[in-house]
Point group: C2
Chain length 454, copies 2
C-alpha cells in the first residue's frame, strides 16, 4: 500500500536524521519521488525540512518538490527562505504552479521574487496572475504544442523534438492559424501513425472542446471527466489559444472540491485543516457551531413557552430527542443527495421542483412509516397513563411533520442557493440542521398541547 | 456551461421526437458526442431511447454509448434488447467495460452473451471477470503496448503503427521480457524524440510504479493521482504485465468514491439514487433511519428515568435540543475530517491516538467556550428562579461533556473501523450521531439531578 510504503520512508529518514547519517540520507532523498518526499516533509520540523532540502542536488527536483508540497507546508517553508534561493527554485517550476504560489505569499515578497526572475518566466507568471485562482485561466499551463495547419507530419515531429522538448504534457498537438486561433487538434499517436508528407489540416480533428479563461475550475473538471480527454485547450476573450488544463490538475480539483463540499456540509471550514495546529483548527470550526448554539437557544425559548404543558405532562420531554433525530437524519439525506447531485452534474438547478417534490414524497412515505412506528411504541409504553392515545398520536404526527419539513428544507435550500449561485454545500451545513431542529420542536409542542388539551 | 449545453440538446431532441422529424434527429444523434447522448438518454422513456439508438449508424458509436451510459439506465436498456443485438454492440466495447456490465446482468443472460461473442473477445472478458469489481484487475484495460527491450525506437514506432493501432491509451510503451515481466516504461513522446537506432533498453525508465491485480481501486486511484501519471501498469501474481489502469477511469473512481463516502456518511445508501424512482429511493433510505429511531426510543427511556426531576423543574427539557445540537455538530465535524482525511491519504490509521487526542483537545476548547456561553445565557434567562446558578452550571457542564464525547466518538469510531478494514464512512453516519445524542441526554440529566438535588 502506498501509505505504508510512505510510513516506512518517513521512519527511515527520521532515524537517519537522528543518527546524522548524512551521506546515506542524501542518497535516499535524491532517489525518492517528489510526491513521496512531499509526504515525508509533512511530518518533519522546519529544521529537518531544511536539512533534507539542502541535500537535493538537482534544482529541477527542488522545483518539483515545491509543486508537490501541500500549501501550508510550502508556505511555512518559503517563509524561511531568502528571495534569491526561492527564485532559483521557481525558475524550475511550471509557471502555473509559480503563479499559484505567488498569489498566496505576501505581496511584497511576491513582487521581489517576480522582479528577480528572468523576464520570460516572470512575464508568463504575471500573465497567469491576471486570472482568478479558481478559473481555467488560473489553473492552465501556458506550455503547449501549437503548429500551423499546413505543416507536414514529418516537420511537426521534428518541431516537437526541437522546439517543444520541455512541454509538460505533449499528448495533443494543437493546430492554430496565424492569430493563434484554434483550428484543430491531433493526438501525438495520430501524428506518429500518419504519412510523413500529410499536412496537419488533412487529419486534424476539428470538433474540439475548449474552455474560456474565466470558466470555473469545477466546470472545466466536469468537461475533462465527461469527455475522457487528457487536456482541454483554454481560449481567451479574443479566441486565442493561451493554455491547456491537464488531467492531472483536474484530478486534484475533483478531489479538492469533494473535500471542500464535505467540510462545508459538516460546518468544518473549507480547506482540510487536519495537518494544522489545534488552535488553528479550533478557530476555523468555532464560528460554524455558532449557528447550532443560536438555534439551540431559540429552542430554549420555544420550549419555554410550553413550560406549563411540561409541568402537567413531564414525559412530553422524553420524545424531544427522537423527533429531532428523525428530522435531522432525513434532512441530511436529502441535502447530501442534492448537493452531491448538483456537484457531479447528475442533478440540474432547472429541475428544482421535480427534485424537491421527489424528496417531499420520500419524506412523506418515510414520515408515515416512522411516525406510525414511534406512535405505536409510545402507545405501548404509556398505555396506562391518561389520554395515552392522544399522546401517541401527537408524537406520531410530530415525527411525520418533522420529517416532511426536513425533506423540504434539506432539498429546497441547496437548490435555491445553487440557483442564485451561492455554493449549496455552504448553505447546507449547520444552518439547515439547526432550522430543522427548531421547526421540529416547535410543531411537536404545538400539536401535543392542542391534541392533549394542555 | 456544459450543463446548459446539455439541456439545450435534450430539449431539441425531445422536440424533434414529438414532431417525428426523423432525418433531422438522425443527423443530430450521429453528430453528438456519446457523453452528451448518455445524458440525453437519462431523461428519455425507454421507447424514445430505443428510437434514438436505432438511428445510430456506426456500431462503434453504439458501443461507446453503452460505455458512457449510467449503470441503471444501461441495465434497463439492455434488459429490453435481444442477445444478438447486445453481442453486436459489445464486440465494439473495451473489454473492461464489457466485463463490468456482464458482472451486473443476470448470470443466464451474461452466459448467453459470452457464448455468442467471438472467442478472442470473450476470453479477454472472462479473464477480467476473474477479478473483483473494485480491484485493479477489475478496472484495468487489457490493451496496452508491450515491446521487447532490444527493439530499436524506429521498429517500435512501426510496431505501434501496425500492431497497436487500436490501443485505447497509447501514451506509454511498456518494455517486457519474454515472460511479459515488466522491465521499463517509455512515453510516446520520448520514443518520438529518440534516435531511430537506439534500443528501448537504452532510454527506458526503470523505476516504475505498478500495482497488483488485487489492489483496491481506491488505492490505485491514489497512486495515479499522487504521481501524476496517465496510466499505471497492472501485474498479476506471477509478475506478468496483464493490463493498465488509465487516468480517465481513475477520475471516475475518485468521483464515485467521494459520492459513496458522502452518501454513506449521510446514511443515504451507497450509490447515487436520485435518478431512480421514489419507491426505490425510499427503500434504500428507510433502514438507515432505523438507527436514529432506535436511538431515539432509547432516549425516551433514558429521559423517562428522570420524570420526577422534570416534574419538579420543567424547564430542564428546554435545554435538551441545544445540548444535542452542540454534540451532534462537533461530532459531524470530527467524523467528516477523519473519514475524508483517511480517504485522501492525508491521515493515516497508524496515527490513531495522535488524531483522536487532537480532536479531543479541540472538543475540550470548543466545549469550554460554548459551555460557558450557554451557561451564561441560562443564568441570565433563569436568574429569578431558585438555584439558577446550579442550573446554569449543569447546562454548561452538559454542553462541555456532550462536545467532548462527540469529538471522541466522532474521531475514534472511524479510526477504529479503518483499522479493522471496515469502511469508516459507513460507520460514521446515523450510528455515531445517534449514540452521541443518547450520551448527551444521559449525562445532561445525571449532572442536572446531581447538582440541583432533584
Amino acid at each position: 500500500m502506498a501509505n505504508d510504503h510512505n510510513t516506512i520512508l518517513t521512519e527511515s529518514i527520521k532515524r537517519l536524521l537522528r543518527r546524522g547519517a548524512t551521506s546515506h540520507l542524501a542518497k535516499i532523498v535524491n532517489k525518492a519521488h517528489v510526491a513521496d518526499l512531499a509526504l515525508v516533509f509533512r511530518s518533519m520540523t522546519l529544521g529537518n525540512q531544511k536539512k533534507l532540502f539542502a541535500m537535493i542536488e538537482d534544482t529541477e527536483q527542488k522545483g518539483d518538490l515545491f509543486s508537490a508540497l501541500e500549501e501550508n507546508v510550502l508556505l511555512d517553508f518559503i517563509d524561511s527562505m531568502r528571495v534569491d534561493d526561492i527564485v532559483e527554485v521557481m525558475q524550475n517550476m511550471p509557471s502555473d504552479d509559480v503563479a499559484d504560489l505567488l498569489g498566496k505569499i505576501p505581496q511584497k515578497k511576491a513582487d521581489a521574487i517576480l522582479e528577480q526572475m528572468e523576464t520570460e518566466d516572470s512575464e508568463e507568471v504575471e500573465e497567469l496572475l491576471r486570472y482568478g485562482d479558481d478559473t481555467a485561466g488560473g489553473i492552465m499551463i501556458p506550455d503547449f504544442i501549437a503548429l500551423p495547419e499546413d505543416m507536414t507530419s514529418q516537420k511537426a515531429i521534428e518541431s516537437i523534438q526541437k522546439d517543444y522538448h520541455d512541454v509538460e504534457m505533449p499528448f495533443y498537438i494543437y493546430v492554430v492559424d496565424e492569430n493563434y486561433k484554434l483550428l484543430g487538434v491531433i493526438s501525438l499517436r495520430q501524428l506518429v501513425v500518419e504519412k510523413p508528407q500529410a499536412q496537419l489540416k488533412d487529419f486534424m480533428a476539428t470538433d474540439i472542446f475548449s474552455v474560456r479563461t474565466d470558466m470555473d475550475q469545477e466546470e472545466v473538471a466536469r468537461i475533462v471527466a465527461r469527455y475522457d480527454i487528457l487536456a482541454v485547450p483554454v481560449i481567451d476573450e479574443t479566441h486565442q489559444l493561451v493554455g491547456i488544463v491537464t488531467v492531472d490538475d483536474v484530478i486534484d480539483i475533483i478531489r479538492l472540491e469533494a473535500t471542500e463540499d464535505m467540510l462545508k456540509m459538516a460546518g468544518a471550514g473549507e480547506v482540510f485543516v487536519e495537518t494544522q495546529s489545534v488552535l488553528k483548527s479550533t478557530r476555523i470550526r468555532l464560528p460554524w457551531l455558532f449557528a447550532a448554539a443560536v438555534g439551540g437557544l431559540l429552542s430554549v425559548f420555544i420550549i419555554g413557552q410550553f413550560e406549563e404543558s411540561l409541568q402537567k405532562l413531564a414525559y412530553l420531554a422524553a420524545f424531544i430527542p427522537i423527533i429531532m433525530a428523525m428530522g435531522g437524519n432525513i434532512g441530511t439525506q436529502s441535502s447530501t443527495i442534492v448537493v452531491r447531485g448538483l456537484a457531479t452534474g447528475r442533478l440540474h438547478v432547472t429541475d428544482l421542483w421535480k427534485i424537491v417534490i421527489k424528496e417531499l414524497s420520500i419524506g412523506i412515505i418515510l414520515g408515515l412509516f416512522y411516525g406510525l412506528l414511534i406512535a405505536i411504541v409510545a402507545q405501548v409504553v404509556f398505555h396506562e397513563t391518561q389520554s395515552s392515545g392522544a399522546f401517541a398520536l401527537s408524537v406520531g404526527l410530530a415525527v411525520l411533520i418533522s420529517m416532511f419539513i426536513a425533506a423540504l428544507v434539506g432539498s429546497l435550500v441547496p437548490m435555491l442557493m445553487a440557483r442564485i449561485n451561492i455554493d449549496p454545500a455552504l448553505a447546507t451545513g449547520p444552518f439547515v440542521t439547526t432550522s430543522i431542529d427548531m421547526a421540529s420542536v416547535f410543531f411537536y409542542f404545538i400539536i401535543a398541547t392542542a391534541l392533549l388539551g394542555l
